[in-house]
Symmetry: C2
Subunit: 340 residues, 2 copies
């Protein structure tokens, strides 16, 4: 590497000013077409690398969007991320990703870091217990925030997520229609809007069918495959002998199905199991998982668009945007069969 190529290097080599080079490289019509081509060609030949920090310092725009979710390794967020990535790519923004693992501190560090880098905006699935000041920190420093997947109290920020309460009632109703009368709810935590809403939707569906709501049929907590797997043992030892399980999400449901399989029970035959999200994996699980489509792809795409539009100056409406979930019936649910 001989020497750092910058605008002025190109300018000198061509006998032009840096202003002209700058304009030409950004396709300004202020520069004559042939000059522009000559400049671009020279830049390429010299191996010029645009210095975004310098540009961003001057313009106070960086083209960087931050995304922070609970855990990018969780395919639910992965599918949202993929949609965001697609949308951002098309409008040539870079995105910086981070997990917060539900640590408010880790999330705040990320927001600060993003601010230091001059991030244009942030898309977040807020960590449990996020104080309103932390999102205000972003907004007050001219970095708009959009929420995905989870709602947050005390903010009017644009929020994109599925209608959890409605969605889980679809799954519960499906089990009721198959004749199940003792239905457990496995997983989820009251600390997130998702957990609260899904439990509420399950309760509502039971009530509407005039079925008794037994709080002991709830096994709260599990949110991963591993935890769903372990919850199966707990489920099987429940004195009420439930014949079906409404799982909090697909991961829990898949782990749960593996768990009951260890006890020689088959989902869809011995125990009916529903998931939630309709991950890519749901349809190839054994048995194929009956679940609720939760629109990850749409959530991601709409959130990214909303942010980019906001950055472009349009005034998007704040508040909650709910995606309507849909039932996906497969093999993990079937007619009730009494447990022995």
């Amino acid at each position: 590497m001989a020497q750092k190529i910058k605008l002025s290097t190109i300018a000198e080599s061509l006998g032009l000013s840096t202003a002209t080079i700058s304009l030409a490289l950004r396709d300004s019509p202020l520069v004559a077409a042939d000059t522009r081509e000559r400049i671009k060609e020279q830049a390429r030949a010299m191996g010029y690398i645009y210095n975004r920090r310098a540009a961003s310092l001057r313009t106070s725009r960086s083209g960087i969007v931050g995304v922070v979710v609970h855990d990018i390794m969780n395919p639910f967020y992965g599918e949202i991320l993929k949609a965001i990535e697609g949308e951002l790519d098309r409008r040539s923004h870079t995105f910086i990703l981070s997990n917060h693992y539900d640590s408010v501190e880790k999330q705040r560090n990320f927001i600060e870091m993003l601010l230091q880098l001059g991030g244009d905006g942030v898309i977040m699935s807020p960590a449990i217990g996020t104080p309103p000041e932390d999102v205000a920190l972003a907004e007050n420093n001219n970095m708009p925030a959009i929420l995905v997947a989870r709602s947050m109290e005390g903010t009017a920020l644009p929020t994109y997520r599925g209608d959890d309460s409605y969605g889980i009632s679809l799954a519960t109703n499906h089990l009721i229609s198959l004749g199940h009368r003792t239905i457990a709810m496995v997983g989820g935590t009251d600390q997130t809007s998702t957990g609260r809403d899904r439990y509420q939707g399950y309760v509502n569906a039971l009530r509407k069918a005039n079925m008794e709501v037994d709080p002991d049929l709830r096994i709260p907590g599990p949110r991963s495959k591993q935890a769903g797997f372990e919850a199966a043992m707990q489920f099987l030892s429940l004195p009420q002998k439930p014949t079906a399980a409404v799982c909090w999400n697909d991961l829990v449901a898949i782990g749960f199905m593996n768990g009951i399989a260890r006890a020689g029970l088959i989902a869809g035959q011995d125990i009916s199991v529903t998931g939630y999200d309709d991950l890519e994996e749901a349809s190839i699980a054994t048995p194929a998982l009956t679940t609720v489509w939760n629109g990850q792809e749409e959530v991601g795409r709409l959130a990214a668009r909303a942010l980019l539009d906001k950055l472009a100056g349009s005034h998007e409406p704040d508040g909650l945007h709910l995606i309507k979930p849909e039932m996906r019936i497969r093999q993990s649910t079937g007619p009730v069969r009494p447990r022995t």
Copy 2:
């Protein structure tokens, strides 16, 4: 937000110079302890946000490390990423993540973007067909690169990955020791070092046991759960009626087990199946998957350390660093049982 707080704002409010503020905020011993505290307190009170672009423009160091892999949603890379994240966090570097989906172009765009942002270094699992010029682009612009998971021809870059050939031979030997004589290899592509090495390891193990190598027993291609699931049908219709499958990785193996389950066959009883990687998921699969530990966590940690050490000026040795894989025997393999 009243007004942008910068070093000079703090300096004026305290009757000091920006140089002193700058030094104090970075804990320089050149500033008297009490002045330093006073400055820090004032910065906090005013809501000062450090402008990294300005600093980076001046110092030409950004604290940003790029990481680009095939697909961050793939748990194999996810586990590597998690280890990198942990290491980078501890040494307060930000990391920017990207998928290349084996597109050389997408990978090159990412490298360029990183260069524009002033990235200090890059960790990559090179896309299939990456030309040496693309990594040279990084290196020549003073952004060192470290390779993970895959080797690349024509470079002497530091590379961290498992010993694929040795690892797959462990799995193959395990099946041979259980009495299997017709063993298929499912998945992987000759386009990556991983694919080539694993097939070679399988072939070597068969040869060493004086078993015939039948190229038709290879089902190349699958690298995902979905593809493993589909490959099961192909496997079951093989005229040689293999009794065991060495799968290219855990994802393929899990999909494959689900696939044969649809045909009423149970892994470990009817067909023996081995995976590769030992993902967190392997042990809770049904049945629990016999696989080869591939050290994702170590690969990530060592690669991140090597990069940070290099950035700190130490001269790490280039070349290949192999992690030694280990067998993990679970329930998906068992004594041979002839197929009907």
